[in-house]
Symmetry: C2
Amino acid sequence: MKEKEFISTIKQILGSEYIGDDCAYLKDLGIVITQDSLVEGVHFKKNLITPYQLGYKSVMVNISDVSASGAKPAYLTISISLPSNIETDFIEQFYLGCQKACNNDVKIVGGDITSADKIYISVCAIGTTENRNISSRKSAKIGQKVIVSGIHGSSGAGLKLLLSGKKEPEKFIKSHLEPQAQTEFGKYLGENVKELYAAMDTSDGLMDALSTIANESGVLLDIDFEKIPYDKEITQFQNWQDLILFGGEDYQIVATVPQDINIGTTIGEVKQGLGVNLKINNNYIFYDKQMVEKSIYNHFSN
Amino acid sequence: MKEKEFISTIKQILGSEYIGDDCAYLKDLGIVITQDSLVEGVHFKKNLITPYQLGYKSVMVNISDVSASGAKPAYLTISISLPSNIETDFIEQFYLGCQKACNNDVKIVGGDITSADKIYISVCAIGTTENRNISSRKSAKIGQKVIVSGIHGSSGAGLKLLLSGKKEPEKFIKSHLEPQAQTEFGKYLGENVKELYAAMDTSDGLMDALSTIANESGVLLDIDFEKIPYDKEITQFQNWQDLILFGGEDYQIVATVPQDINIGTTIGEVKQGLGVNLKINNNYIFYDKQMVEKSIYNHFSN
């Protein structure tokens, strides 16, 4: 899996203590920073998303990462590269979508615009950390509980519908095209958790986030599938349990927090061990790192 | 010229006071932020630049923007999208180049890596503003002098050589492939200029920077071509004066500063009027905005 190999090479060269979490925490400046890209043909297909939705999503995915860190999303820069036949209307709709995702809370302060063969978007987001406790995927602690901010699987189900040309149930498609960053949930954790804690958004899937936290923290996450919230209509899809576990792009937050934190849905416990232990269909399946990596979406296999 | 039209549309939608300068100055956080992209086939050709040089340049162009703002380059995130046949060796060389450009002063703290048809790089840079006076292209003032940090034209000459398959004089090719950000020059201005001042790097050419400062500030820049420093060997190139004025990618800084600032080379004065008045070959040529725009490299015409 080249992406992971590349990241390991980069870590070796840079030796940076910052690389690992979605957001880098720059304590001296009181900010977190994150950058995420969307590439036409890889992360989206032009005929399945409107320019407005594309702008919305480009911004939202970065606000989601900042929110999961526990910081307050504050500023953005947007770099966009476009084929030369793109019209002004596209730009207008794209930035209206960006602005919608900013929701009057986050300011777009810069970026650049260049030409390219295909559409490339790269957004950089800054969050402020004043009076916030910043999470790290390395910080899960035995005895904490595992919580999620909301339902999983809907975005993956929506993508399935879109790819097969179906338009119903519309709510799943909406989940995929207009996901919501869990800013309030992240704020609550940032302001209320008083010890080290782990948190990530589930952009690459719930199981990916659970496995990453488990392996980076050196703990076992004991998860009960029955407790994971999902839309009951998802059971009409083939392999619906896989959509919930591996579907991705729900942009919820998964976190390990002290037992007295009272937000979200508890789906499991942090225990001694390494990996994810999933209770599902009255069985236990143990997922080590390799097993999860094999199962999830690999950017470089597409 | 679509790029300018797009930017005007974006400004209209966002109504942001930050958009205009290469760096956005976030006073509440004590930082500036900038983002710049390099796209294969648009900003570079794979066969004319090594992965090491590409990494170096991607980082350097952003450090250059931060330096021109008067801030201290501090942190970077790097987003890179790559064809799936790219080898680990490319990544290694690319990041070694990035690290070289960081010169132990700037830390790479994050970013992402995804697949794409072509190579696409977007770097976000943060500079700190403590004890620094931050420039703006809107702040040139009548009575100030116009200074440059160094020679112009060499990078454009180097690109000409590369495109025609020539390898000599090597110094021009090196200027194009390994330009230096003027960090010390920017530091001097940031620490020593005690009034509002304009500054920009000359990434898109000296005349572009002069014209932008003139038009954004509402002043006339009276420039004497004879005073612009350049490598004397450039006179062997056809249209060498155009290389100096419009060549681009020299990554020097041009600034308007009080008369008592003692750094760089003075090439002109800030006067009442609007545009750039160039004394060249014993003539005066007046460049208004449209004339400069017609003359310079247009990303969208390539």
